[in-house]
């Protein structure tokens, strides 16, 4: 039989076969009797047992993705174990101090009552002033992308930005090799033991490898890597290197992965709780031995004996013996000089120094003996330090170059309107931009900044944000020039040059001085996009740069046409059926490779002739010369190496005869 009263806290939190449902997390102050746990080793050897006070603390440090502490949650247990399998302990008293006992300041002297053999009691407490606790480990995670065209540049002295929120950049549409270097330094003054490290990696990562100078024992699962690390003494540091790969196929948020470190502090509690004193009684007997001296009647030789009847070591603290009426102090032994007490082993005996007493009868005394079971204190702390994750940014720009003029003529000076469009297709704005274009000989870039125009979706950019450099800075078309154009790098006035999903259009004219159609001109274009390393908008000293070059496929080639005209217009007169009829045949032959347009042909014939018909539209008008008429034709197009024919018929309307010589007129064509 046997029923036990259960209070509300126990019903909610205690784990046991009597309770159905999920227990709540334990908290607050509870004193409960529990079964002995195996983790405390008993020193029972059949004749020796001990009382162990185990002070354990469990803390969880939470940090944000900068490594800055957000919160600490912690609780502690003070467990008192009676390791004897036969002896009880009673009237037990525990005294402890500690600033973390917020609600127990007045109760730091607790009577724990009776301990049955092989039993324990647990005092639970929460660590409430956790903000005052110092960090025990200094942890820094350095994330690097090893992809080749991602460079890191710094305009300052290159100090690593440990306290900044970094941007972590991945390239879109290519394999990125990312390394996570996590350094762990013991900044406490105690050794850290049983260190375990665990890093969570999202599904996107593959080919993960692990390196550590202190651990070769690691386990990689689908989403995490974990390992045990060697003990770290105060000031010691260890580093873990994880290399892995990721291939972002689209614009997506890829996390850097959380990580956590757990470790034990042996013989130390974090909160400052201290077990000052424990006392309790177990089976012991004390008595005063009185022997009448052989040679001196009524002279008694006395001593106090103390017998330990328990399995515990007993600490004898003091002995005070008075005469019966307590008017005279006979013996006082305070063992505080001997480290506070003298120890009587199990079943051992202590005998005080002898003292003499004269009495006719058997003397009686009043005595007070202070003693307690001995105990030992063990303490340890288990700490879990958690660190939040960052998000990788995906960087990508798309470059297009367009030239308004499809072709230019060889060996002629002309102006080419060049247009470069850069689209930001990543998840992070482009802070600054540098563009270089190699301008070959026979061409010249503009050296006047006002000739450059920059546009975004929000409108034109001011020239103050632009800087150009032409190398060498001259107008000699005999050698090549390097045009370097920087946006928002010198003055750094803009929050960004290209916002996410926005574009930048750069327009400028190029001068073709003497383009040679036999030469192949190349205009290699490179665009360097600048992304700030830190998310802090005021901190623009360090950048990641990504170089993209315009592939030849995407280049808009300049066509240099070498065109020379070659045309011949012939006239032939054919007599008709009668002597007063003539047919005039005109042929226009294009002997060049250029299309000829609007070719105008004009002929004259005397007034004595009448125009009968023509195979093309014509225009007849009075000539400036008397007695002549003028006929004009316009051939709209003569394609390269094509002939076009014009035929018109004339009839003499005068009475006089005409001859051909009159028709061999002045011919314009």
């Amino acid at each position: 039989m046997g029923f036990k009263k259960v209070d509300y806290d126990e019903l909610k939190t205690k784990i046991g076969p009597n309770f159905l449902g999920i227990p709540l997390r334990e908290g607050g102050k509870l004193i409960e009797k529990t079964y002995r746990e195996k983790k405390v080793e008993t020193s029972y050897t059949g004749s020796f047992s001990d009382v162990v006070i185990l002070n354990e603390e469990f803390l969880e440090y939470d940090h944000d993705n900068l490594g800055k502490r957000i919160s600490i949650l912690g609780n502690g247990n003070i467990s008192v174990f009676n390791n004897s399998i036969k002896d009880r302990i009673w009237d037990t008293n525990l005294q402890f101090t500690g600033s973390q006992f917020d609600d127990q300041k007045d109760e730091n002297n607790i009577n724990l009552g009776i301990f049955e053999p092989s039993s324990n009691k647990v005092l639970k407490y929460e660590i409430v002033t956790s903000d005052e606790l110092s960090e025990l480990v200094k942890v820094f995670e350095k994330i690097e992308n090893k992809v080749e065209d991602l460079e890191s540049i710094s305009s300052t002295d290159g100090n690593s930005s440990e306290v900044k929120t970094n941007n972590y950049i991945l390239r879109l549409g290519m394999e990125n090799e990312v390394t996570f270097a996590i350094s762990i330094e013991n900044v406490s003054n105690s050794p850290l033991e049983k260190i375990k490290f665990k890093k969570f990696l999202p599904d996107n990562f593959y080919d993960t490898e692990f390196k550590s100078n202190t651990s070769k024992d690691f386990k990689i699962t689908r989403n995490s890597i974990e390992c045990s690390l060697n003990k770290l003494n105060p000031g010691e540091k260890t580093e873990i290197l994880i290399s892995t790969k990721v291939f972002p196929k689209k614009k997506e948020n890829i996390k850097t992965g959380k990580f956590e470190i757990s470790f034990h502090l042996i013989e130390k509690v974090i909160s400052g709780v201290k077990i000052n004193h424990f006392s309790g009684y177990s089976h012991a007997m004390h008595a005063i031995k009185k022997s009448e001296k052989n040679y001196a009647p009524n002279h008694w030789q006395c001593s106090l004996i103390f017998e330990n009847h328990s399995d515990f070591k007993m600490k004898l603290k003091s002995i005070l013996i008075y005469d019966k009426s307590r008017s005279k102090k006979i013996l006082e032994q305070d063992f505080s000089d001997q480290g506070g007490s003298t120890v009587v082993l199990p079943r051992g005996k202590f005998q005080s120094e002898y003292f003499d007493y004269i009495d006719k009868k058997e003397p009686t005394f009043t005595r007070k003996v202070k003693y307690s079971v001995d105990y030992k204190v063990e303490s340890n702390s288990t700490i879990v330090s958690k660190y939040d994750e960052n998000t990788f940014e995906v960087a990508n720009v798309l470059i297009k170059k367009k030239i308004a003029e499809e072709e230019i003529k060889s060996f002629q000076e002309s102006r080419i309107n060049s247009r470069i469009i850069i689209n930001n297709e990543g998840t992070i704005p482009v802070k600054g931009l540098r563009m270089t274009e190699r301008i070959p000989e026979d061409f010249l870039p503009p050296r006047d900044i006002s000739e450059y125009k920059l546009y975004r979706s929000s409108g034109a950019l001011e020239l103050a944000d632009l800087e150009i450099k032409v190398i060498p800075d001259d107008d000699d078309p005999l050698h090549e020039h390097l045009l370097e154009l920087s946006v928002n790098l010198k003055n750094n006035r803009l929050d960004s040059v290209i916002e996410v999903e926005d574009f930048l259009e750069i327009k400028y004219p190029l001068k073709a001085i003497t383009p040679d159609y036999k030469k192949a001109y190349d205009f290699p274009l490179k665009v360097y996009s600048y992304y700030p390393k830190s998310t802090d908008v005021d901190d623009n000293n360090e950048f990641f740069t990504i170089m993209d070059d315009l592939s030849k496929m995407d280049q808009s080639a300049i066509k240099i046409s070498h065109k020379r005209r070659k045309v011949m217009v012939g006239k032939e007169i054919f007599p008709g059926r009668s002597s007063n009829e003539f047919a005039i045949y005109i042929v226009a032959r294009n002997g060049s490779n250029i299309k000829l347009s609007d070719v105008s042909v004009t002929d004259t014939f005397p007034d004595s002739f009448e125009l009968i018909s023509a195979n093309l539209n014509y225009d007849v008008s009075k000539s400036n010369k008397d007695g002549e008429q003028k006929i004009s034709f316009t051939i709209d197009t003569i394609l390269p190496f094509q002939e076009r024919e014009i035929m018109y018929y004339l009839k003499n309307i005068s009475t006089t005869d005409v001859n051909q010589s009159e028709l061999e007129s002045y011919f314009v064509g």
Binding site: M1, G2, F3, K4, K5, V6, D7, Y8, L11, K12, G16, P17, N18, F19, L20, G21, I22, P23, L24, K33, Y35, I85, K86, D87, R88, W90, E116, P117, S118, S119, H283
Partner: protein, 285 residues
């Protein structure tokens, strides 16, 4: 052999079972055994002067005094095999954990519970299986305690008992000082922190669960107090605390040593049985 389950017992003879049943402590009185058997055998109430089928409405007529004939030790010699088996399963192996088993074990516990000084107990002859007031307990301080027993305490059973308590209190013009829920298992959603309002009084409910395990002896052991001042079968108690409460009530106090004779009730031979000291201390009366 051990006494863990009836079915695994090598010796299920009436003689052996009777011998074990005789060891059950505290002893049954005549009236207790009659009420127990009537309840277990589902027979009609023995002293039932109240309504027979008033299950849902608790009235004072349903309640009869139990255990007042403290000097009349029950005669266990005429128990039938089924009754012996049931007694074994409830009190010795404690393998039965249904509502009736919990109720009768709780009643046994009332007799030596240290925190209660029971003056009289009234027993409900017509309990409702879903939840009812099973015992009305009066203490030596004239406090009235209402106890309801359950195999598994669920929230709806709890609420049903509360409503029955309120009805009963109004009907009988009785304001209980304590409401006890005795159970083998309990769900955690029982609102123990919420006082129960009974007419003008607020009472905090008390939950008592059956203990398991915490003891320094086995059910097969014989426990010997001092120099055979008391001999107690280990199966009577499932905690050292209960054993000490019983010993306190049934000895004169003073220096007490409790020894255990290992496997006394299941040993093949009585020779060379090991005897250990399991408790030594003083009991002041």
């Amino acid at each position: 052999m051990n006494l863990q389950y009836y079915e695994t017992m090598d010796d299920k003879s009436e003689e052996f079972l009777s011998y074990l049943i005789e060891q059950i402590l505290p002893y049954f009185t005549k009236s207790e055994l009659e009420l127990y058997l009537a309840d277990i055998d589902k027979s009609k109430p023995v002293k039932g002067k109240g309504t027979k089928k008033s299950k849902s409405k608790a009235t004072s007529k349903n309640y009869v005094s139990i255990g007042e004939d403290i000097d009349k030790k029950a005669d266990l010699s005429k128990l039938k095999p089924d009754q012996l088996k049931r007694l074994f399963q409830i009190y010795i192996s404690r393998e039965l954990n249904d509502k009736k088993a919990v109720k009768w074990r709780f009643y046994q516990n009332l007799k030596y519970m240290s925190q209660l000084h029971v003056e009289s107990v009234k027993y409900n002859q017509n309990p409702d299986p879903a939840g009812s007031i099973d015992f009305i307990i009066e203490t030596s301080q004239s406090e009235i305690l209402l106890a309801s027993c359950h195999d598994i305490l669920e929230l709806n059973h709890y609420n049903k008992v509360i409503s029955e308590v309120v009805n009963y209190a109004k009907k009988e013009n009785l304001l209980p000082d304590q409401i006890i829920f005795a159970t083998n298992k309990s769900f955690r959603n029982i609102p123990l922190d919420t006082p129960i309002k009974i007419i003008s009084k607020e009472v905090i409910p008390t939950l008592m669960v059956e203990k398991a395990g915490d003891k320094q002896f086995k059910r097969e052991d014989l426990l010997i107090v001092n120099d055979s001042e008391l001999k107690i079968a280990g199966f009577n108690f499932n905690s050292t605390e209960d054993l000490l409460n019983y010993v306190y009530r049934h000895t004169n106090g003073g220096q007490i040593s409790i020894f255990r004779q290992l496997d006394f009730f299941t040993a093949v031979s009585e020779e060379d049985l090991e005897v250990d000291l399991i408790w030594k201390g003083i009991m002041i009366k």
